[in-house]
Amino acid sequence: MHLTREEERVYDGECGWASKICMKILVRLGELFDAEKLIPISSAHASGVSYKTLGDAPTEFLQALADADGKAKVEATTNPQSFDMGYLSKRFDKEVREKQLKVLDQFERMGFTQSLTCTPYYLKTPEKGAHLAWAESSAVVYANSVLGAWTNREGGPSALASAIVGKTPEYGMHKAKNREPKVLVKLETLLENETEYGALGILLGKILEDKIPVIQGLENASKDDLKQLGAALASTGMTNMFYTENVAEKTGEFEKISIEHKDIKKTIEDLSTASNAKADLVFIGCPHCSLDEIKHVADLIGDRKVRDGTELWVCTSRCVRAKAVESVKRIEHSGSHVITDTCAVVTWTDRLGIKTIMTNSAKTAHYAPTLNRAETIIAPMKNCLEPALKG
């Protein structure tokens, strides 16, 4: 890999241990993937923030980096943690709370914005064509496919290293030739709601491996539908991008795949694992809700109240919550919780006694059986809210 003189100085440790070790990570990864050089990034988004998924091992390294004056050189944001500072934090014991806060402290010392969201694009939308080093897989697909930014699917450590160096090795999704579609997916059915778009993602992730598809039939999809599609796609496969038909240049020979209504129906059936139809938790907000979604939830709830014995969580980022004051007030009036900084998947729902989770998110339905040891029921937002509400 070719390094500039300035990069070599960092590599040799002239700018301190923190940037040296981060530079070394980027250079070695670059060599591994045959990158020829490093390129500047406009932002980095780090995963590996939730103590639930991290455990104890990473704290020492994060602390060593912060102690050595490791500082983010570019706009840097963080993925969700394992509880919010209000409702959920009170429900876990002091020890895990302190361990989680210690992780957050290290990111804060390194100059990361405590965004604590899987949707950093609502905080600041990257420009089209901007190079990023983002680690949250759902945000990676959204950035590449919907926002037109360029990012690989980073891991926690490589996104952190990129934040501190301000660069990423140029390989994979940072090169135009690797962003060309290889498969034509023909939707033979009209998808009707966000859950069906999510199911399409789950299904395609398994079929495509890492190939980029052009998907025909997404003309009516909203950005929130595409968010569900991308999040699910990344959960079951390594594909980091999809094209909707109108933006794809049709060049070369495509492998063709047809998706029919029965395929979507079967995928949805397989995602619902619950033996009884009653959920302890109804969860909306995977990925974190957009402003539109929060408003939609508030409208659907109306004046109704949450049933006793059921929890209704609407998860979003601090920045969206702050913009949705009126809707948040209406949702919370019903007895449901608008929760920031975390979500059902990265918190310990099992410790709260939750055995069945109902959600509109295919990504959550895919992960909850293993990560939450919960059974799942999947349905569109409207159908999720109905059984949770009185009247």
Partner: protein, 137 residues
Amino acid sequence: MQLITLKGRRIVEGYCKAEALVSLKPISFLGGVDPADGKIIEKGHDLCGECVKGKVLCFPHGHGSTVGSYVLYSLAKKSLAPKAIVNKTADPVVVVGAIIAEIPMIDKIDIKQIRTGDMVEVNADQGFVKILQRKES
């Protein structure tokens, strides 16, 4: 015995002589290795119950969560890390882990030539592994 030298590629520089611990299965450091004692705990793994401490750990490649890199760092801080890592194909999780934990690492090695218990020399700077002594069978 004729000394066998296997040529590979340097990933993290360093040098050591130690006993080999060889697996033909990928290792996930998150969930697969106990950070408290360095033992492999993944059920059904061919090295389950073995401790990686002080060994030249040979395996095809890593898999699983990128948090696994931090497990290698944590092991090193407790002096429980392997002395060197020898892979068939390096992957990002193990590479990053070896860099931050400062564990010498080589890849592109035909690990089937090495057997658990062999005494091996790892020269990561020059990118080779030498089998110094076969385990007596």
